[in-house]
């Protein structure tokens, strides 16, 4: 079902993408291809793929890399899900089998988005400590532990980036009038 929803949403995105491309036309260039060919080509290739995914979603099947040997599949250690083998080129893997915890995920996303929002007004040190502690709390750390660790880590990063690398980090527009 998830595949069908994804394919449906992507289908809308692709159609919008292709529709937008008709405006990429310039009258004074004699480029035989123009700026809209590639977007249209992408859309033309995507549409049949998405329709096929909509029509027949992926059946659970074994990843290709595990098929390189005849009997590897049965011998894999139990802690490794077959999915851990799949993401070959990215070289980063996790167990996709873990259940999604929507509450934790939404809280983590809000913490990260909130960080972008408070970073400039509150300044680097405070907002980074807050972000660190928020994520630490999501990982079931004790409040004092993660707050202390967050403050230490933020100070360390501040020292490294501002004094070590001579980069700018915000000090907080909110506090400026007191300085």
């Amino acid at each position: 079902m998830a595949d069908r929803i994804t394919a449906g949403l992507l289908l809308l995105v692709t159609l919008g993408f292709a529709y937008q491309a008709q405006h990429f036309h310039s009258s004074f260039f004699s480029d035989p291809v123009g700026a809209r060919l590639v977007p249209w080509a992408i859309a033309a290739l995507l549409l049949p793929l998405l329709l096929s995914l909509l029509w027949r979603p992926q059946q659970p099947e074994l990843p290709i890399s595990s098929l390189s040997s005849r009997n590897l599949v049965t011998e894999l250690p139990s802690s490794i899900s077959p999915d851990a083998l799949s993401d070959t080129a990215s070289e980063t893997d996790s167990e996709t089998a873990a259940p999604i915890s929507w509450r934790g995920l939404l809280l983590a996303i809000s913490a990260l988005l909130g960080y972008a929002w408070i970073l400039e007004p509150l300044g680097f040190l405070l907002s980074t400590s807050l972000l660190f502690s928020a994520l630490g709390l999501l990982l079931a750390a004790k409040l004092w532990q993660t707050a202390l660790a967050g403050l230490c880590f933020a100070s360390l990063l501040y020292a490294l980036f501002v004094w070590g690398l001579a980069l700018y980090l915000p000090t907080g527009t909110l506090w400026q009038r007191w300085w």
Binding site: V33, R70, L72, S90, T128, L139
Partner: protein, 498 residues
Amino acid sequence: MEVVSSLLDGFQVALQPLNLLLAFLGALLGTIIGMLPGIGPINGIAILMPISFALGLPATSMLILFCGIYYGSQYGNSISTILLNVPGTSSSVATALDGYPMAKQGRAGPALAMSAIASFVGGSLSVVGLMLFAPLLARWAIRFGPAEYFVLMVFTFSMVSALTGTNLRKGLIASLVGLMLASIGIDPGTGIVRYSFGRLELYDGLDFVVVTIGLFAVSEVFMLLEQSRLGQVPMQAMGRVMLSFKELLGSTGVMLRSSLLGFMVGVLPGAGATIASFMAYAFEQRLGDREGSFGHGDIRGVAAPEAANNASVSGALIPLLTLGVPGSGTTAVLLGALMSLNITPGPLFISQNPSLFWGLVASMFIGNLMLLVLNLPLVGLFVRILLIPRWLLIPGIATISYVAVYAVNSSSFDLMLMTAFGVLGYTMRKLHFPVAPVILALVLGPLLETNLRRALSLRNGDWWVLVDSPLSQVLWLLVLASLLLPWWQRRWAARARG
């Protein structure tokens, strides 16, 4: 002889104090990054990229550092695999098959020593391969015109889509969505702004670093948040890191064969370290497993995948440096870093930047030696890092990622965008879409489009230009073959099973 004198010049570059330090730093960070489950070389390089831009590191030094992380991670990944049965990166999954049983039998020490030595053999031999074959391929690659480049990139996409992930359609969809993202910004051919939604920040296109860190590091943080609810895995005792002479001798042939195999697989686009390690393991099992000891703690089952996954690294650098067409996520990130410094790898890259190429080669020899020295006696120290509690590690990764991006661009918009790409990457991984093709497409997209349009312009829009040279015909056949690969592999596996 030309090779020897070039290599000596390369050592002069690599032995400069800064470059030596960076090779060491890369090797060290790579080992740690490879060892920690979830954090791969892509994340490490992507997070360090804005910092090294800000430091104004010269291109050679930056490449030495990033490649150090890349091959260093192939050393580190076996540590958590052997001790915890949790692979640091997917390329050490094959190592778990015999490494963890060895650890359970109390032979974790020899397994770790074997893995370090096999990594060294694979890493060093493949650098020799890189040094000998890259200049040859570069000379040959001068024949590539825009049309051939275009087809070569199509081939790369079809291979990556076919070999990464669980489903060819999803791989292709991921590649095409990546190409969509790549078309955001001002079109260099006509100056028309595409898909910017009126935001000035998007006129230059999506910032490659922001997308990479979002898709890989931030999505990884979301994944790790979930896994922390699962129990901690017990760690096996390590024992003394020693290897008997007999074990070493018995694995010499295995290491040499696996290095060669790993190197060749590494050159192919889309294949890379994971497939190399599995193929080497399967090959050695069929060749030498007379007593059926593979899978029950045979030390050759550690030597084969570790030699192969390290050897594949230098192999993967060949198409990147000689053709400018990376075949994996990590090499795509390296290309992005080079292009940010206005260096475009291609057939003329080695002859125009000899000190860069030979300096890198020399640093890889030095770095592999450093890694051997680091990994044999100091493995006990590295293992301590695995004991860092997750509530420190994961917020640490997240904050470093965000700070690194903000410190360079000073833009909150970038941070928002990064979170959005984190959510996208997480969703893709949950739905079994491979993420690497997106990064590859983002880097290759502009090159793909430029070459296509250049080829067509040269012939006034005649589409036959894409098929009329023998070279492009061969490449189109390869594209076709790569799209049939999953189907063929399924059939082969079904026959083997039934």
